[in-house]
Structures are given as C-alpha cells and as structure tokens.
C-alpha cells in the first residue's frame, strides 16, 4: 500500500495568552501545552476534549487566527512546508478551510446561496453551488433563504457547503454538532467522513467522544490543554488497548461501559500540574509523573504516561 502523504503535522505546539489580573498583575496563561499530531490524506482525526480544554485554540493556531494577545511556539507544517502566519493567511479559505462552530459565522444579511458562492455570480459557480447543496440534501430554495430562516441542521450543512466549494485539502471542523439531535449530528459527521474518503485530510474538533468514534480514524484525547493520547478509533473497543489512564477512565465512564466515574475534576488550565496533567487523579501515580512527561509513540499511537509501556 502506498504511503499516504501527511497533510498537516503539528509538533510541540503551545499557545499562551498574556492577560491582566486584579488591575496590574500581568500573567501568562499557557492554554495549550506541547501538542503534537498529524493528519494524513484521506484521514479523519478527531481531537476530543471537554469545553475549556484548549482544543479550539489548536484549530485557530493552525489557521493563524489566534487572538492578538496570544503567542504560539512549536512547528506547524502543511505538506512538509513549515507554515508562517503569512502563509496560513494565503492558504486559509482556499486549501485549508474552517467549518466554524456557530451560526454567527454566517453573514445575517446575505442569502445562503451567495454565502456559499462567496459572492461570485458567474454561471460556473452557480451550478457548482447548486451541486454542492444537492449533495448535502438541500435544494435550490435554500439558496434564497437568509440565515435566520435556516434550522440548526441546515445551517451546519450550509457552513459545510461553503467550506467544500473551494475543494480544500485540509478541513478543520470546530464543534460541528452541538445543538443537533443524534441523527442530524451523525449525518453532519458523515459528510466529513465523505470528504476524507475523497482524499482530503479532516481535523474534527469535538467534545463528544461517542460521536467521534463513529467516524474518525484516529482520536487525540485532550486533557487540560494538552494531548494525553493518540489512538486509533478501534482501540476504543477495548479498555486494554488504550494507553493512558485518562482514556481508560473515559472508556469506563461511557454510559454503555459501566458509567463509572473516576473521582476528581479536570483542572482549569492555570492549575494544570506540571508533568502528566492527570497525575493528581491517577491511581497509579508515582513521583516521576509530576516531572516532565514526554509524548511518545506506543503501539501505533502516542501517549503521555511514564507507566504506559507496562500496560
């Protein structure tokens, strides 16, 4: 089998914010710490973490649209080419597209059709946009609607249509499913699966592990602003195949797998302990868990745990 090209490679990405506290104290908040991942052609990689774990910042970092008080370090490359912020700007919206989280990304005063075509009016784009809509189960009447007239599921499909019009090579979807019922959410995710099957790389950012497992090839588990494990989706069939204690705990907490809750709470990013962020909650914690823990390859995935190799 021929080796698939790597579309996106992120190495040791960290994102920090400077902010002020209590009037004058300036602090730096390390929101995303040492994250690495790769997305290959035809692959759907899901980044799964709860709200506030910094996963959206990862997407914004790759697109070069972090807020002005944020700074990032590490390496982001696209087809082997290191990305600078300028280059991100050139690729953004053309080869790399974002399917944003909320409805508010649509221009409320512009009809859906025009938004999909990005303002173009020539015959070719007209036909193209109609074809795209048809593909997602919408018809030409939708083109004439304003965003407020669309339902949640329709809006998501419009946002997707807008993204695929440019035939992107890398699609980043930031929380595309909240507010949708199960069937609609599954249908939206299946569209991302199709994009991947047609050869694009897809990075799906979501809080919903159960949904992600249905479509993704690989899962990156986010915890308190850092990645603790990268596993293939099939590893989530069995607890023993998982590498990190947090992923195992996630597995056990699924309603279908016992609904057992490990104690403790995911910390606010500022309280994240050095070393393994899960260490304070981990049953198998040791002194060395509190020091720097590297993100290493293991059994076809990645893990940030000193005891992972012992199984």
């Amino acid at each position: 089998m021929e080796e698939k090209k790597t579309v996106l490679s992120v190495k040791n990405l960290s994102v920090s914010f400077t902010q002020y506290e209590r009037w004058i104290k300036r602090t730096t908040l390390l929101a995303v710490k040492d994250v690495s991942l790769t997305v290959r052609e035809g692959e759907l990689v899901a980044v799964v973490g709860s709200s506030g774990s910094g996963k959206s910042l990862l997407a914004h970092g790759v697109l070069g649209i972090l807020p002005y008080n944020a700074a990032w370090s590490g390496e982001i490359s696209y087809y082997g080419e290191k990305l600078t912020e300028k280059r991100m700007g050139q690729l953004r919206g053309k080869e790399i597209v974002l399917v944003p989280q909320s409805v508010s990304y649509l221009d409320p005063l512009m009809k859906a059709g025009a938004q999909i075509r990005n303002g173009k009016r020539d015959q070719g784009s007209m036909g193209e946009s109609l074809k795209t809509l048809k593909r997602y189960g919408l018809d030409e009447t939708v083109e004439k609607l304003y965003p407020f007239e669309l339902s949640g599921g329709m809006t998501r499909r419009i946002l997707i249509s807008t993204a695929v019009m440019e035939k992107p090579k890398l699609v980043i979807a930031d929380e595309p499913t909240p507010g949708l019922h199960l069937e609609a959410a599954k249908r939206v995710l299946s569209h991302f699966r199709e994009m991947a099957d047609e050869g694009a790389g897809v990075l799906l950012i979501t809080h919903d592990l159960e949904l992600a497992l249905e479509v993704a090839d690989r899962i990156v588990v986010f915890y308190a602003g850092t990645s603790v494990e990268e596993a293939s989706a099939s590893d989530f069939r069995d607890e023993r195949l998982l590498r990190h204690p947090y992923s195992k705990a996630l597995y056990m907490a699924m309603p279908d797998h016992g609904f057992c809750a490990a104690p403790g709470a995911q910390p606010y990013i500022k309280d994240r302990p050095s070393g393994c962020p899960y260490a304070p909650r981990c049953e198998r914690r040791e002194a060395k868990c509190l020091e720097k823990v590297d993100y290493v390859s293991l059994a076809g995935g990645m893990v940030r745990c000193v005891k992972a190799e012992e199984g």
Binding site: S50, S51, S53, P178, A261, P263
Partner: protein, 202 residues
C-alpha cells in the same frame, strides 16, 4: 407531588413557527423522566416553560394542582442550563453563587466534588466542568422539588458527566425530587431515566 403541563402552546415573538403545540405531560416526585425530540422541537423551550421562565401562549403549568406562577419566592421547579458560563454572574465570586441557592447543604457540595479552594475564585478562573457543578449545587437548595436538566453534561467530558449523573441520581432518590433529563445521548438516557417521553408522539 406532580408537575404537569396542560395543553401548552408556545410561539416566540419573532414570528417563527409554533414551537410547542398543545403539549400535555406530567411528572411525579421521585421520577426521572427523559425527554426525547429532534433539535428544533422545543426541548429547551419546554424546560423554560415548566420552570416558569417563559409563559405559554395557551395552557398552564400546574404544580401540586396549583398554577406554578402562584408560587412566590423560591421556585420549587429549578432548571439547570446547558451553558454554565451564562448562568453565573462573571463579576461575583463562586461562593456567592452557592449563597444564591436556598441553603445548599454541605452534602451536596461535597457530593459534587466542589473543592473549597474554588470558592474564592471568579467564574472565569475555573473550568467548564467545575462551573457546572456550582450551577447544579445552586439548583439543589432545600426548596427544590423538581429539577430540569437541559443538556447539562453535553460540553463536559464523559468522566465528569458520569460523576454528575451518578450524584444526581442518588440525590434525587434520597430527596424524592422529580428529575427531567434532556440529552441527545441515548446511552445516557438509558442509564439515568425511569421513563421516557417523545415529544413527537404528542
């Protein structure tokens, strides 16, 4: 005690389509009712009406045979919202959030895993999961007879979700509170609920 909705209809002012049409439902103390419906079917609206945040255009909500609006002071029907960050005042410390509730017991605070050091922080200084625990604790004051949970664990990780639900199940059983659960997760509803209601079949 019984919370019931009698032929409720509701439509938002902005002229959009009818959200609820002649809905009849009830729930009893100690019951855990799961509400199922596709998006756009007004699950959140239904919760808002049952908790008295919105007035139905037609029909009425009765608690123990009396209209809900006739209860003054602490409302015995409390709702927990999906986004905790909108549910607390960003300029008040979290201990103030707990004080807002109707004498929240230490047992509830401990049971939800709220740590004392979080109390002196502002809402922007804790994670979403931590904040949602405060919102749940606040809604579990002494006067609460019915609790409406609108997708309260959607944005949290699965461990936090199961912690919260395991606690809520034991707490509502202990106090004979009626619990309405809105969630898109079939598995969660299977685990938590004693009865299910599909809005489409109404």
């Amino acid at each position: 005690m019984r919370l019931e909705a009698n032929s409720i209809s509701f439509q938002y002012d902005n002229g959009n389509k009818q959200i609820l049409n002649n809905l009849n439902m009830y729930m009893d103390s100690g019951e855990r009712l799961g509400l199922i419906a596709p998006s756009g079917f007004g699950k959140t609206t239904c919760c808002k009406i049952l908790a008295g945040y919105e007035k139905p255009d037609n029909g009425e909500v009765l608690l123990d045979g009396r209209p809900l609006s006739s209860y003054k002071g602490y409302c015995p029907v409390q709702m927990i919202w999906q986004h905790p960050e909108n549910s607390v005042n960003p300029r008040l410390k979290l201990k103030e959030v707990l004080k807002e509730g109707d004498g929240v017991e230490d047992r509830v605070i401990d049971g939800l895993g709220i740590e004392p050091e979080w109390l002196n922080r502002y809402p922007s200084e804790v994670s979403g999961g931590e904040l949602q625990r405060f919102c749940i604790a606040r809604a579990l004051g002494g006067g609460t007879k019915f609790l409406l949970a609108d997708e309260i664990s959607t944005m949290l990780d699965l461990i936090t979700q199961s912690q919260i639900w395991n606690f809520l199940i034991s707490e509502v059983e202990r106090r004979e509170i009626g619990l309405l659960v809105v969630s898109h997760s079939q598995g969660l509803l299977e685990r938590v609920c004693t009865r299910k209601l599909d809005l489409r079949e109404q």
